[in-house]
């Protein structure tokens, strides 16, 4: 309970050296024939974290989750949960529970019986199980549906039954496979916060698999980005977003504009990048470990670009372009700007006033500028 308060209050056990990880995954590999689904994954997850495994389809995130649950046997490597090695522990004896992507509710049982299933397998008496089930159904707001069968429920209700069923045994670790994938957008957003509340109130460690980067950002304490079976970056949501380690990650999380260039001036406290695509030099006001004339990439998020009609008259970090496309999204507008080099830039501008007399329109000449610290320099 202590550490729960700590994480909820913004403590970060993954930074402190003294903290012992709750789940230790070391060198975990899974091969299906010639295909390596999970490739030497090492990961430490701490008690009461809400950890998201994020990646495109086929990146190995579900296989990793299934190995944690015990449905797949690792080809190599170890899993340790709360100090216990899981190598010879079958799925039914593991201190984990899983919420399936398809929910996998037992179609021949009522909601009540579905939720009670896990308790009864542990030899909990019927009356006590009934009590706990009632409490759990209250938590997920399904008390009125206890007698219904899964096929009489809506998608959102089924999702909550699945959650209740996987939480009833108070597992040390709850594994969630695309838990919100089958819900529509509005319901998904509501449920995300419900999920966080439930996780915080019960103090269970969650590992969530998702391909939806927004979902990962909203839910998680930390995100592990996966690509081709490997974990390519682990970090808090803002680290992943603002400090991606590679072009792949920058591109996968959110949208990004990427310039390729060469270092033209490498000083201790700034770097200047010559970029043909941008027809201006890019000035970065912090040191980067690179060498003169090295090829690298400069990535900048659309919301960090400023779009104006007048030339802001900076020496660097200003490019001229023509508005090619505008997408009005209500809260913000997305501009596609064509530069002289032919490169397209994506710029977002929040719509702060209800009426804009001087709105930027199609084919207008505009200037795009950004701060010295707004972008990320990437070498891979």
């Amino acid at each position: 309970m202590d550490s729960q308060k700590k994480i909820a209050n913004g403590a970060k056990p993954w930074i402190e050296q003294s903290e012992k990880p709750f789940i230790r995954i070391s060198n975990l590999t899974k091969k299906f024939g010639d295909f390596t689904a999970v490739d030497r994954v090492c990961l430490d997850i701490y008690r009461e974290e809400l950890f998201c495994l994020l990646g495109g389809s086929g990146c190995g995130k579900s296989t990793l989750l299934r190995m944690l649950a015990g449905f797949e046997t690792p080809s190599d490597g170890h899993i340790e949960i709360d100090g216990q090695d899981m190598a010879n522990v079958p799925a039914f004896a593991r201190p984990t529970n899983m919420m399936f992507q398809s929910y996998a509710l037992f179609p021949h049982m009522s909601v009540e019986k579905n939720v009670a299933y896990g308790l009864l397998r542990d030899g909990v008496s019927k009356s006590e199980a009934a009590e706990q089930v009632a409490d759990m159904l209250k938590l997920v707001q399904l008390s009125d549906f206890a007698k219904r069968r899964p096929d009489q429920l809506s998608g959102g209700q089924r999702q909550r039954v699945a959650l209740a069923r996987s939480l009833i045994k108070r597992p040390k670790l709850l594994l969630l496979d695309e838990p919100l994938g089958a819900l529509d957008k509005k319901l998904r957003e509501e449920t995300q916060f419900e999920l966080i509340n439930i996780q915080e109130s019960l103090g269970v460690t969650f590992i969530v698999v998702t391909h939806d980067q927004e979902e990962a950002m909203t839910l998680s304490t930390r995100i592990g980005v996966m690509d081709q079976g490997e974990i390519v970056q682990v970090g808090e949501p803002h680290e992943i977003y603002e400090f991606p380690l590679s072009i792949f990650i920058a591109d996968f999380i959110g949208s990004v504009n990427i310039f390729m260039g060469r270092v033209s001036d490498d000083a201790t406290n700034y770097v200047r990048i010559h970029c043909r695509e941008a027809d201006c030099d890019i000035h970065v006001s912090h040191g980067v470990s690179c060498t003169q004339n090295q090829k690298l990439w400069f990535a900048i998020r659309p919301e960090k670009l400023t779009i104006t009609r007048e030339n802001p008259r900076g020496k660097y970090n200003v490019v001229k372009g023509i508005v090619d496309e505008i997408a009005y999204r209500g809260n913000l507008s997305i501009f596609r700007i064509k530069l002289a080099s032919g490169k397209m830039l994506r710029v977002t501008k929040s719509n702060r006033s209800r009426r804009d007399e001087d709105a930027i329109s199609w084919d207008d000449n505009v200037y795009i500028s950004w701060d010295d610290t707004a972008g990320i320099v990437l070498v891979q």
């Binding site: 649950a69 799925a91 398809s102």
Partner: protein, 316 residues
């Protein structure tokens, strides 16, 4: 069973087809062909049998009296003999034959289920390539005559047959076991013959079983045995019912297997029927036996169907 459903809609279908002019559209053609098939090959023979069962046995050709008779003065006389049905009640042979047929059918269905379930389960859980090979092997015996296969069992079970020869040459038994012309042989023959009819519906059901349900059960702490009894078995009940029907119903009326493999004490209604028709030449009583058998089978099937429909309606 499909034929009972067809029977239920029979009256309405006939009315509709006869009242309306037959329109040669695709729809009426599609419904019409099986309808006429059923009328010609099911309903008419059934009516004929029913008619004979109400007549009287006479020594003539055909060996029964006609129901309708013209009397002087333009009377049309309809004579219905219920005596054939009453006779079935009087002679204990028929009741015990019915009872013993149902008993044999019940136990053969049970044995077939116990043998077929693991086989169907294994096939359903195999890889797709192996699955097709195994299904092929299940269906393969149908390509040879059923009669020949039953005769083959005589060769296996008889006093100096394959089994006894092996047992005696190994010194396990000193005298041949008596297997032929016993109820044991009848059970062996029936279970062997009807096994595919149990396996196929069970397989069709089990192959649809969502693997994630089994994983969810394991995940919630159920060992494989508990998972089987709590998840797999309840979800395969429709397959069990379908397979049991396909075995039970024909076995009740089975004639060939008890006649070839059974002995004098094997009492089954199919055999009684045969004797009544061909040895005794009492067609009316034989017809009554057939009608009673049909009623005995159709009523429980219809009740079961109604119960299933009711439970389905209650759940939605």
């Amino acid at each position: 069973m499909s034929f009972s459903a067809n029977k239920a809609t029979f009256g309405t279908l006939i009315k509709r087809t006869l009242v309306k002019r037959i329109r040669f559209r695709g729809r009426s053609l599609v419904i019409g062909i099986p309808l006429w098939w059923l009328i010609v090959f099911f309903l008419i023979p059934f009516v004929v049998v029913a008619k004979i069962s109400f007549s009287e046995a006479i020594i003539a050709r055909p060996p029964y009296s006609s129901l309708l008779e013209w009397k002087e003065g333009g009377f049309l006389l309809l004579k219905l003999h219920f005596s054939n049905y009453l006779y079935l009640l009087e002679d204990s042979l028929y009741i015990s034959a019915y009872w013993s047929s149902i008993k044999v059918a019940f136990f053969s269905t049970l044995i077939a289920l116990l043998v077929a379930y693991p086989m169907a389960y294994y096939i359903a859980r195999s890889t797709e390539r192996r699955r097709n090979i195994l299904l092929m092997l299940i269906i393969l015996p149908f390509w040879t005559s059923f009669l020949l296969r039953v005769y083959a069992w005589i060769g296996i079970l008889k006093t100096h047959g394959i089994i006894n020869n092996i047992l005696m040459s190994l010194g396990i038994t000193s005298e041949p076991l008596v297997m032929m012309q016993t109820n044991f042989a009848v059970y062996v023959g029936i279970v062997y013959t009807y096994l595919p009819f149990m396996i196929l519906p069970l397989y069709t059901n089990l192959v649809k079983l969502d693997n994630s349900l089994l994983e969810a059960s394991a995940d919630l702490g159920a060992n494989p045995l508990t998972t089987f009894f709590k998840i797999t078995l309840p979800l395969s009940v429709p397959g069990i019912i379908a397979g049991s029907m396909l075995v039970f119903i024909p076995v009740v009326g089975e004639f060939v297997i008890p006649a070839l493999l059974g002995g004098p004490d094997t009492l089954m209604i199919g055999k009684v029927l045969w004797d009544e028709f061909f040895s005794n030449r009492d067609w009316p009583v034989a017809s009554a036996v057939a009608i009673v058998m049909l009623v005995l089978l159709v009523i429980p099937v219809m009740l079961l169907r109604n119960a299933q429909n009711a439970s389905r309606a209650a759940s939605t």
